[in-house]
């Protein structure tokens, strides 16, 4: 009795060592079986993996576009200038539709008198400026027999240079004297130079804006494109000139730059108090103007991307589950098809776990290949999107895409694989190949 028990426990112990050493060898074998199976059934594999491919592509493209826009938003906020906030007629980051409707109805335009008041009453700011602009319905701009349309025309206080993204490339910005006298001078972007002055110096040339002659005093440095939109098609003139020409548009927005980060809050609070007093806003009523800082814009953006992301996750989850079920179905068929093979492998010493691994890995490799195809497709689409809009594929998205698609295959492979693992070796061998 004792000898038998001893012999018995010996075989068990040996069985365990056998398991540990064979894992990686078996995993590699399973990997090549999977690759071979994919190669042998190209069309079937393609159809099987379509769901996973679409899911992965969708996920990565959306992440890439959001990522691209994040870069853009960050750029724009950087271009806003450090520690700048804007007093505008509206709050840009409205949380609800009712609030928006209310603001539309109630808020009055910010006027130059507000600007003058803040300029005199606020203390300690680094710079303050005002601007007003229009793009849609802007008048055409002519130079000799050339015409440009839809150029952004704005009026600015001389203090605005340095608070926005425009920088002087050649010539100069308009002066306080020109501002005070509503001079017909302008500061233009590079697109106008490209359109009008390909072979000549734009400085001191006269262009016609809405029929009025303007002398070009300065040209901005090239800014480039964001979201496929040129940032260089603008003409700036003194705000006083702008108001004289377009008297129907008295509204402005006021930009205030704080000395530093700490002063921002203080300055915002002070501005709010001054504006409320000036507009006679009752104690319990909300502001009838908006104070917008980079934090506000970021908040709005995150709110927007948050909902885009939630929808994307829902869509991707549905695709992945459908893709996973298709894979499971094909794997079940594959197990039936290869019952004889499973019998052979079992007769040669494959344990349940080995067979389980074989089919789970096969399923994982299959969907992983689908994931890689999805990533390649997504990168191509992102490149195309980037040409007209913006997109940039983050490495993390590639990792997530590959990981997620593989995980789906592994998960949905478990059931077919466990069916294969449980097959009786004798029955399996008896099945015709």
């Amino acid at each position: 009795m004792a000898a038998g028990t001893q012999a018995h426990s010996l075989t068990r112990a040996q069985g365990k060592t056998h398991g540990r050493s064979s894992f990686w060898v078996m995993a590699r074998e399973a990997f090549w079986i999977a690759v071979e199976a994919l190669r042998a059934h190209k069309l079937r594999s393609f159809l099987t993996l379509l769901g996973v491919v679409i899911a992965t592509t969708t996920l990565i493209v959306v992440i890439s576009v959001i990522n691209g826009m994040n870069v853009y938003i960050a750029d724009r906020i950087a271009n806003l200038g450090a520690n700048v906030f804007i007093v505008d007629r509206f709050n840009w980051a409205n949380t609800s539709d009712e609030e928006w409707v209310k603001e539309q109805r109630r808020n009055k335009p910010i006027l130059m008198t507000d600007y003058d008041y803040l300029k005199d009453s606020l203390e300690g700011y680094k710079a303050i400026g005002a601007s007003a602009g229009m793009r849609t319905a802007s008048p055409e701009i002519r130079y000799q027999n050339h015409t440009l349309y839809e150029v952004e025309i704005s009026g600015e206080t001389p203090s605005m240079i340095g608070m926005e993204q425009e920088q002087v490339g050649s010539g100069r910005y308009f002066t306080d004297a020109e501002y005070d006298h509503s001079a017909l001078v302008c500061f233009v972007g590079q697109d106008l130079v490209d359109g009008f002055f390909a072979n000549s110096d734009p400085l001191d040339k006269t262009i016609a804006i809405g029929g009025q002659p303007f002398r070009i005093v300065g040209v901005a440095k090239r800014i480039g494109k964001t979201l496929g939109q040129s940032q260089d098609d603008f003409v700036q003139m003194p705000l006083t000139t702008f108001h004289k020409l377009y008297a129907s548009r008295p509204g402005v927005s006021i930009q205030i730059q704080a000395q530093n980060d700490h002063q921002m809050m203080e300055l915002e609070d002070e501005t709010r108090a001054l504006m409320r007093a000036r507009h006679h806003v009752p104690y319990k009523e909300t502001d009838d103007f908006g104070i917008n800082a980079s934090a506000t814009i970021m908040g709005l953006w995150q709110q927007l991307t948050g909902s885009i992301f939630a929808i994307t996750i829902a869509i991707v989850a549905v695709f992945m589950v459908v893709g996973g079920i298709v894979i499971m179905n094909i794997m079940l068929a594959s197990v039936t098809e290869r019952t004889h093979e499973i019998g052979i492998r079992k007769s040669l010493g494959a344990r349940r776990f080995d067979i389980l691994m074989q089919f789970v890995i096969e399923s994982g490799v299959m969907s992983g290949v689908g994931g890689i195809a999805g990533i390649v497709l997504a990168v191509v689409i992102a490149k195309l999107v980037d040409m007209v809009f913006t997109a940039s594929v983050p490495v993390s998205a590639v990792v997530i895409g590959l990981g997620l698609s593989t995980a789906v295959g592994l998960f949905f492979g478990i059931y077919p694989a466990s069916k294969a693992a449980k097959l009786d070796p004798i029955e399996a061998l008896r099945t015709e190949a």
């Binding site: 038998g4 990686w24 060898v25 492998r345 040669l348 010493g349 776990f353």
Partner: protein, 246 residues
Amino acid sequence: MGSQVLTSPVQERYAPPDGVLIQVDDLWKTYDMGGAIQVNALSGVSFEIRRGEYVAIMGPSGSGKSTLMNLIGCLDTPTRGQYWLNGKLVSELTDDELAYIRNKEIGFVFQTFNLLSRASALHNVELPLIYNGTPAVERLERARESLQRVDLGDRMDHKPNELSGGQRQRVAIARALVNNPSLLLADEPTGNLDSATGEEIMNLFDRLLAAGNTIVLVTHEHDIAARARRIIHVRDGRVARDEQVR
């Protein structure tokens, strides 16, 4: 039959002596056919096979010889009785432990070859080594050696459908031997071959016997069984005759 079961003594668990490779002791295999109907495929089979023996198990279809082969091959477990293989009581092992025994102790040669059709001869021979975790370099070397032993050194990269029946069976034999098993178990190894090729395979078995292998051959053909040294005749689930022929 029933009374025999009730009165059978407490099972002895002493391992057989070292020279005995297989000891089968009162082996029963009963199948439930649904309801109260039970069919005994084996009803108390006992015998011993020593190392280096060449034994044929003979019997007509339905005699229980396939069931016996499955039990000896550790593909199945007996309903009752003991089976000692190479000093281990394998009749009481779990599925995975049996898989380990099949891998280490037994080399199968089947009538229908049972090769993986998509894999090369070399990879087919490698398979048993994959399931015991042999590293790739050693695995390839041993698989090549094994194929050379059956004179297929020049056909290693061929797939089974590019080989003749005899060559396929030789690949199967190379696969059976690659792990140096203690038992070579052949089930109608010449059943799918013409007589000349069958003869070739039987000659190969003679050579393997001379090299020290223990061979158990399951067949229903007299001329094939006659090549063995000893024939165990199975009939109606029992050993009908156990004769030394050479």
